[in-house]
C-alpha cells in the first residue's frame, strides 16, 4: 500500500477550517481517509477534551423518549412565558430534521399557525401569485418579521426551474439597495420542502393594491415611484441581473416612509424554463412583458425598462397600454401595435412625462433609454424641480440645474440632497423643512443578521459597521456606498478607530482582536484572547489598545510590537465596554457586575470603582473634556461620575429597569449624549440641563450602538434589526 507521508499537526488542523483548507486540501483528505493515525489526530485536534467525544456518542440516548410525558410538559412550560409565539402543532421528535417537517401544500389554504419553514415560525399567509405563496414569518433568533416566498409546487418539480430560482434569488440577495427588498436567505429545499427564500418584511401595500383603489395617481407620485423603481433596477442591472417581471404587484410601497421597493427577482426567468403546458403560460397574463420577452428572444436590461414604461403608463392613465383578454392578444398588441397616447387618456400628464413613457415603450430596445440609471436620474431631476415650483421645467443642461440646486440648498429646502463632484445627483430622503418626527435620512440595510457595533471615522465621513456575518462594512452614508469590506464570517462585536483615523480595531466572536491599516486594508495585528472580544478602545496616540472580553478579562496591548503589556486582569465577570480618557492617563471598563472601574493606564491598576448597580453596566464613556465619565446599563439610568475622585455627580433616568441602555456617545462638545436603548429607541440628552431633548424611533430591534458624527449634526445607530440608520440631530437639542 502506498500511503503518502503524514502531514504535521498544523497542516492537519487546517482541514477543520473550511476557508483555510484551500485547494491543496484534496490530497490531504485522501491521506486522512487511509491513515488511522491521522484520523485519530484530526479528531483529537477537533475535540480537545475526549470527554466531548464521549458525550456526543451518548447523545442519542440523552433526551427523554418521544412518548415521555416530558414533551407535553415542556411545551406547557414554554407557553408559560411565551405570549406571541404559537406552539408547534406536533411534538418534535428528539432528533427530527426540521426541514422534513410536513410542509404545507401551497395550493391549499389550511391554517398556517404553528407551522415552521426551516427555523422560521409562520404567522400567516400574506400573498399569492403565479410563482408561489408568500408568508409572514418570525425569525426566532433575531426577533424580527420576515417574508418567506415559497416556489409554486408546479415549478418546484422542475429541476431546471429550481436551480435557476435559487441562483437568481442568491444573486438578488447580493444587490443590497434601498429600493430592492432585501433577500436574507435562499434555500434549495429538499426532502419534501420546495425551494424558498427569506426576505425582509416590508409593511405596506403593493402598487397593484394602490392602483386597484385609486386607478390613477397624482403626477408627483408617479414620478416618485418611477424614480425609485428605476433606481432599484439600476442597482440590479449593475450586478448583471435582469428583473424580468416588473409589474405593480412586485412594487411595494412601504408604509410610513416614502420608500418604494422592488421585489421578486428573476422568478419570471425561472418560469420560462418550464415548458408551456397545453393550457398556456404558467405565470398568468403577460401584460407587462417586453416584445423581446414575448418573442422569446435574447433579453437584456432594457427589457425591464419597457415593463417600467407600462407601469408608468398605468399609473398615469389608469389603463394598460396593451390590454387583452388572452395572452395571444396581449402579446400581439405589444409587439406590433402602437399604444394609445397618454395625453388622450389623461390630458393632465405633462408632456415630458408622456415623452419618457413613449420612449420606454419603444418596440426596439435600441430606441429606448439605454440604462435604468439614465431614467432614474431624469425622473429625479424632475421630481426635485417639481417640489420647489408649481410649473414644470424643461430639464436644463447640468450647469443650470446645479446652480438652481445651490439656490435651493441655500433656501434650506432641499436639505439632505448631496451634489457629488461629477455633477450626478445622489438621491436621499428629503427631510421635511418643518419640524416633525425625525426619520433617518439614510439606511444601510440588507445585512445578514444584527448589527452589533458602529464607529465613525475621525477624518472622513465613513462609518465602520460591524455585522453579524459579513465582516466590517466601511459605509459612506452621504453617497450611500459601501466603500470597502474587511472580510470576516464570525460576528463582529466591537469596532474602533484610532484618533488619527488610520487604524481600525475589530473585536470578533472568535476571540480575536484584529488591527487593520485602513490605507492599505492590510491586517497589522491579530491578537488572540481567551474569549470573545466585546469591547476595544485605542489610546489617544494610537499606540495602545485596551480590550475587554466576554470571559471577563481586561488586557492592554502595545500596538507597535503587537504584544500584550503584562498579564490580563479579571474584572466584571464579563466586560461590556472600555474607554480611554482623552488624556490617555486612565482607561475605564464596565461590565456585568454592574460596576465601572477606572484604571491608571501606566500602572494598569484600578484607581477606584463605582458601586455596583442593579444589573450589568453596558457602556462607559468619557466626556470630551475628560473630567467626567458616564455609565449606563440594565437599570435604565445614566450616571455621571467625577473622573478624578469617582464621586457620583448626578444621574439621569432614561428608561426603567430591564429596559437596558446599551450604548452611548457624546457629541464633540460634550453637550449632548446619545443613548442607544433596548426599547428600540435612541434618546438624546442635553447634559448640562440634564434633560431629554429628543427620542429617535424607527428601529425595529434593540439599538446596539450609536455614534454622534464629528460635526455634531448627525448620528448613526446600529440595531439588532440588521440596519444602520443615519439621523439628523434636531438643533434644538443643543439649546
Amino acid at each position: 500500500m502506498n500511503v503518502s507521508p503524514c502531514p504535521d499537526p498544523e497542516r492537519l488542523r487546517t482541514l477543520l477550517d473550511v476557508e483555510a483548507a484551500g485547494r491543496d486540501a484534496d490530497p490531504l483528505v485522501r491521506h486522512v481517509g487511509e491513515c488511522p493515525a491521522c484520523q485519530e489526530a484530526l479528531e483529537r485536534l477537533a475535540v480537545g477534551d475526549p470527554q466531548l467525544a464521549r458525550l456526543v456518542s451518548t447523545c442519542a440516548r440523552s433526551r427523554p423518549e418521544p412518548d415521555s410525558a416530558f414533551w407535553p410538559a415542556l411545551h406547557d412550560l414554554e407557553r408559560l412565558a411565551s405570549r406571541s409565539t404559537p406552539p408547534p402543532t406536533t411534538t418534535p421528535a428528539p432528533h427530527s430534521d426540521p426541514n422534513t417537517t410536513a410542509f404545507l401544500d401551497p395550493d391549499t389554504r389550511e391554517t398556517t399557525a404553528g407551522l415552521r419553514i426551516g427555523p422560521f415560525e409562520v404567522v400567516r399567509e400574506i400573498g399569492r401569485g403565479g410563482m408561489g405563496v408568500v408568508y409572514l414569518a418570525r425569525d426566532p433568533q433575531l426577533h424580527r418579521d420576515v417574508a418567506i416566498k415559497v416556489l409554486d409546487k408546479r415549478l418546484a418539480g422542475d429541476p431546471v426551474a429550481r436551480e435557476r430560482f435559487c441562483r437568481e434569488a442568491k444573486a438578488a440577495a447580493g444587490v443590497g439597495d434601498d429600493h430592492i427588498v432585501a433577500v436574507h436567505q435562499v434555500s434549495g429545499g429538499g426532502d419534501g420542502t420546495p425551494p424558498y427564500f427569506v426576505m425582509q418584511f416590508v409593511e405596506g401595500e403593493s402598487l397593484e393594491d394602490r392602483l386597484a383603489r385609486e386607478t390613477r395617481l397624482p403626477i408627483d407620485e408617479i414620478v416618485r415611484i418611477g424614480m425609485q423603481v428605476a433606481a432599484g433596477l439600476a442597482a440590479a442591472h449593475d450586478k448583471g441581473l435582469i428583473h424580468r417581471d416588473v409589474k405593480p404587484g412586485n412594487i411595494l410601497l412601504e408604509k410610513g416612509t416614502d420608500r418604494v421597493k422592488l421585489t421578486d427577482f428573476g422568478l419570471a426567468h425561472a418560469a420560462q424554463d418550464v415548458r408551456l403546458t397545453s393550457t398556456g403560460m404558467v405565470a398568468g397574463t403577460p401584460l407587462y412583458m417586453s416584445p423581446e420577452q414575448a418573442r422569446a428572444e435574447p433579453l437584456d436590461a432594457r427589457a425591464d425598462l419597457f415593463s417600467l414604461g407600462i407601469v408608468l403608463y398605468e399609473m398615469a392613465t389608469g389603463a394598460l397600454p396593451f390590454p387583452g383578454n388572452t395572452p395571444y392578444l396581449v402579446l400581439r398588441r405589444l409587439s406590433e401595435e402602437r399604444h394609445k397616447p397618454v395625453a388622450e387618456l389623461n390630458p393632465a400628464v405633462p408632456e415630458w412625462l408622456a415623452a419618457v413613457i413613449d420612449k420606454l415603450l419603444a418596440k426596439r430596445p435600441e430606441d429606448r433609454y439605454q440604462s435604468a440609471r439614465e431614467v432614474a436620474e431624469l425622473l429625479e431631476q424632475h421630481w426635485l424641480l417639481r417640489r420647489t415650483s408649481s410649473q414644470d421645467h424643461v430639464v436644463c443642461p447640468r450647469a443650470r440645474v446645479r446652480r438652481k440646486m445651490l439656490q435651493l440648498a441655500a433656501m434650506g429646502v432641499a436639505a439632505g440632497v448631496v451634489l457629488t463632484l461629477a455633477g450626478l445627483w445622489v438621491w436621499s430622503l428629503i427631510q421635511p423643512a418643518l419640524p416633525g418626527p425625525v426619520t433617518p435620512w439614510r439606511t444601510l440595510d440588507g445585512n445578514q443578521g444584527p448589527i452589533w457595533c458602529v464607529a465613525g471615522s475621525p477624518i472622513e465621513d465613513v462609518l465602520a459597521v460591524g455585522t453579524h456575518s459579513e465582516g466590517v462594512k466601511l459605509w459612506n452614508p452621504a453617497e450611500n456606498r459601501v466603500e470597502g469590506v474587511l472580510p470576516e464570517t464570525r460576528p463582529i462585536l466591537a469596532v474602533a478607530y484610532s484618533a488619527d483615523g488610520k487604524k481600525l480595531a475589530v473585536g470578533t466572536e472568535d476571540n480575536t482582536l484584529r488591527v487593520y491599516d485602513l490605507a492599505t486594508r492590510d491586517l497589522k495585528h491579530r491578537l488572540t484572547h481567551a474569549s470573545a472580544v466585546r469591547a476595544v478602545a485605542f489610546s489617544g496616540d494610537g499606540r495602545k489598545a485596551v480590550t475587554g472580553t466576554r470571559g471577563g478579562m481586561v488586557a492592554l496591548w502595545d500596538l507597535d510590537t503587537g504584544k500584550e503589556i503584562g498579564e490580563p486582569v479579571a474584572a466584571h465577570g464579563s466586560v461590556a465596554s472600555v474607554a480611554f480618557s482623552p488624556d490617555d492617563r486612565d482607561f475605564a471598563t464596565a461590565g456585568e457586575d454592574g460596576r465601572a472601574i477606572l484604571w491608571d493606564a501606566a500602572m494598569r491598576r484600578p484607581r477606584f470603582e463605582t458601586p455596583a448597580q442593579e444589573g450589568g453596566t453596558w457602556s462607559v464613556r468619557f466626556t470630551p473634556d475628560g473630567k467626567t465619565f458616564a455609565t449606563g446599563g440594565w437599570d435604565g439610568t445614566v450616571r455621571l461620575w467625577d473622573a478624578g475622585t469617582g464621586k457620583l455627580q448626578g444621574d439621569m433616568k432614561v428608561t426603567g429597569p430591564g429596559k437596558d441602555l446599551i450604548a452611548m456617545s457624546f457629541c464633540p462638545s460634550g453637550k449632548l449624549l446619545a443613548i442607544a436603548c433596548a426599547d428600540q429607541s435612541i434618546r438624546l440628552w442635553n447634559v448640562p440641563q440634564r434633560q431629554e431633548r429628543a427620542v429617535l424611533r424607527g428601529h425595529t430591534g434593540a439599538v446596539t450602538s450609536v455614534v454622534i458624527a464629528r460635526d455634531g449634526r448627525n448620528l448613526a445607530s446600529g440595531s439588532r434589526d440588521g440596519t444602520v440608520h443615519m439621523w439628523a440631530i434636531p438643533p434644538v437639542c443643543y439649546e
Binding site: G33, V47, D49, F70, G616
Partner: protein, 198 residues
Amino acid sequence: MESPVTRASLLLRLKDDSDTEAWQEFLRLYGPVVYHFGRKRGLQDADAVDLMQEVMRTVAAHANKLDYDPSRGSFRGWLFTVTRNKLYTFLDRRRHREQATGDSTTRQALQATPDRESDLEASWEQEYQQQLTARAMERVRPEFQKNSWDAFWLTAVDGVPAQEAAKQLNLSPGAVYVHKSRVLARLREEVQRLQSEE
C-alpha cells in the same frame, strides 16, 4: 446567535419575563437535566416530569425575587440546590403517600441508600454536561450541510464505521473524517460558549 450586549447571566435575563428567548433556552437545556436527574434517583417518567415542572415553575415564579449572588457559585450549582431540595420534598411527600397506599416501586426507590451529597452533585454535573452537548448539537446543526451532518452523525453518534458511512453518503472516507471533525470542532466551540453564559 444572541446579542452579546444583553447577554446578562441567564438568571438575570430570566428576571425579565418578556425575554421569552431566555426562558426557552433555559428550559431546553435544564428541563432534561432535571428530568434525567430525577430518573436516575429512581423516579418513574411521570414523577420525574412532575419534579421538572415544579422546579421550573419555582424558577419562573421567583425569578425576579431570587437573590442569587453570582460571586458565590455558578448558576447551575444554584439550580442543583433548588432541584435537590425539591427532590427531597418530593420524595418525602411521596413517602407519606406511599406509606398509605403501599406502592412497591416507589418504596424501593425511597428505601434505597440515600445518595451521598458528592455523588448527587457529580451526577448532576454529568447530566448537565450531557445536555449541554445535546443542546449544542441542536444549535449547531443548521450551520452544516445535510451531508456533512450525516457524516458526523453516522460515525460519531450511531457508531457506523467510516468506510460504511462513506458508501451510504457517497463520500470518500477521508471526507467523512473531515466532516466529522469539523462538526466536533464547532461543537467544542459552542459548548464553551454555552458554558460561558453563566
